[in-house]
């Protein structure tokens, strides 16, 4: 369960998020809005990457006063819209770091890493590749594998399908479906295609929460708002 109340984010004198509130216990939830609506900003605020005023509660516990890694320890993680490059770092080392906090022995972790990378559609040879030398789409998949290995309560996926080709799209949907069995997945997106897999959605426009409701209704409203 995540509950956000009266989030306000200002940057350089501009109000980026204007009193955003929502609450959901759905495991597949979408944050929908056009370019510049404030979706990524909202994701950063929840993760603690941006500091904002207001309240963010995970299963009733306030986390908005916590640092990024403390929020991660409370079970929140984020997959970036454009993942970091990590010059020189191997995929394997990134994924190992991602499951560092799991209570498993090294062998079990390695098995889990191998299984996870394969589920994203990349074979295990990718584990020895350098992250900075991957294509954009490949790096997005590694990012998905990474958040899944944290086994968090809440996963925010910022535009998970951007840079993913049509053939791989279904594989990514499948991957997210599986994630949602154990975690609450918040999908940040402007695309109807990916949001239609969610049950509930929040519509953002110009930094404001316009409406919260079943995804189908929100998507209809999204069309109207766009006009």
């Amino acid at each position: 369960m995540i509950e956000v109340q009266n989030l306000v984010l200002e940057k350089n004198g501009r109000r980026i998020l204007d009193n955003v509130s929502f609450k959901t216990n759905k495991n597949l939830f979408a944050i929908i809005g056009a370019n510049g609506a404030g979706k990524t900003s909202l994701a950063y605020c929840i993760m603690g990457i941006e500091k904002c005023s207001g309240s963010i509660k995970v299963d009733g516990e306030e986390i908005n006063n916590l640092k990024v890694y403390e929020r991660a320890k409370k079970g929140v993680t984020l997959a970036w819209q454009i993942p970091a490059e990590f010059e020189g770092m191997k995929v394997k080392d990134y994924l190992k770091a991602s499951c560092r906090c799991l209570n498993l022995n090294e062998n079990k972790k390695e098995e889990l890493i191998e299984r996870t990378i394969e589920k994203t559609g990349l074979n295990r040879e990718y584990l020895n590749r350098e992250i900075s030398k991957l294509s954009g789409g490949e790096r997005k998949r590694v990012e998905l594998a990474s958040v899944s290995l944290v086994k968090p309560r809440i996963i925010i996926l910022d535009e998970p399908d951007s840079g993913i080709d049509l053939i791989s799209f279904d594989k990514i949907i499948e991957f997210i479906m599986e994630l949602s069995k154990e975690s609450q997945v918040l999908i940040v997106t402007h695309s109807k295609k990916i949001s239609s897999m969610t049950e509930e959605a929040l519509l953002l426009k110009n930094g404001r929460a316009i409406k919260l409701g079943p995804t189908e209704e929100i998507l209809k409203l999204y069309d109207e708002v766009k006009k």
């Binding site: 990024v68 991660a72 929140v76 993942p83 020189g88 906090c101």
Partner: protein
């Protein structure tokens, strides 16, 4: 020869490198090795195709001459251990390595001064690389917790169609002060690739200069450095390439990360005296990438753990 000293040097050599297996091989009978502790030659043995001569000179230098014979492809690496186990000693080594035509060799040098308080290590080196040869030299340092004063200057000539690869790493422990220079001259079709990786802390002072003079046609060189400077340390890198030969190619690639009050400087020096030559450079100096840091924090790593991992990746 003292086995005890040799074992201790080997043990400390392991502190300088991640891959301990490389050091373990020093025990093997199939490798050539020269081990010098302070001013004493503790061991010197060579396999077929390799000749190692070492002697003490009157000026306090230990002279080391190594020859890789013509056409010989040396299967196992040639090892060097130069160490000082006392807290205060000035070690001076004058080394010349000749890789004759068509020879191939990989060398590992471990320089360890683990208990140094005031150790000095002075190293003058010459590589003479013939034609169609492949020569690679990896050097790992460990200077203990206080650091040593190291001056290592190398000059190299790379003959036609030959390759020189050097890798210098001082990643663990404290540096003290380091003055590391390698100057090379490259003939037709020859190549030189260098990477230097140094992590400095406390009041360390690091100076690294890599230089390549591309004399011959199609000569090529890539000079890389990865420096991480923390606390009050200073790191300075100069990467110099001179393009003389027709179609010679060169690239300088330098990345420095600074933390706390450290100061970093980097200077790519490119000079083209032949219009068909082409030289490029990229340099980045700054703190740890914020996004990389936040990504790892979002996976539950503390800031310190995240920095360690990012720096480790950069150093590999």
């Amino acid at each position: 020869m003292s086995d005890q000293i040799i074992e201790e040097l080997i043990r400390y050599a392991k502190q300088s490198i991640d891959d301990k297996k490389i050091v373990e091989k020093l025990h093997s009978n199939e490798v050539s090795r020269i081990i010098i502790h302070e001013g004493e030659i503790e061991d010197n043995k060579a396999v077929e195709g390799v000749k190692i001569k070492a002697k003490r000179k009157s000026d306090g230098f230990v002279e080391v001459k190594i020859i890789i014979e013509k056409g010989k492809k040396i299967k196992e690496p040639v090892y060097m251990c130069f160490g000082v186990l006392s807290p205060d000693y000035e070690q001076k080594i004058d080394m010349e390595i000749t890789a004759e035509d068509k020879s191939e060799v990989k060398m590992y040098a471990f320089c360890t001064f683990p208990k140094s308080i005031k150790v000095k290590h002075i190293m003058k080196t010459k590589y003479k690389i013939g034609k169609n040869a492949k020569f690679s030299y990896d050097e790992f340092h460990y200077h203990g917790n206080i650091g040593a004063k190291v001056k290592s200057h190398t000059e190299a000539e790379v003959g036609e169609n030959s390759q020189l690869t050097t890798n210098f790493a001082l990643i663990y422990g404290t540096v003290g002060s380091l003055d590391y220079k390698i100057k090379t001259k490259l003939k037709n079709e020859s190549k030189f690739a260098a990477i230097t990786r140094v992590k400095s802390r406390m009041n360390d002072e690091v100076f690294v200069e890599e230089s390549a003079k591309l004399e011959g046609k199609n000569a090529a060189s890539v000079l890389k450095s990865r420096l991480v400077a923390t606390d009050n340390s200073k790191a300075n890198f100069v990467g110099e390439i001179i393009g003389e030969g027709n179609n010679s190619r060169g690239h300088v690639d330098c990345k420095e990360i600074i933390m706390n009050n450290a100061v970093a400087e980097t200077t790519p020096k490119l000079k083209v005296v032949n219009k068909t030559s082409r030289l490029t450079h990229e340099a980045a100096i700054g703190s740890v990438d914020k996004k990389e840091l936040q990504t790892l924090e979002a996976r539950g790593l503390t800031k310190e753990e995240a920095i360690d991992l990012i720096v480790k990746g950069m150093m590999e």
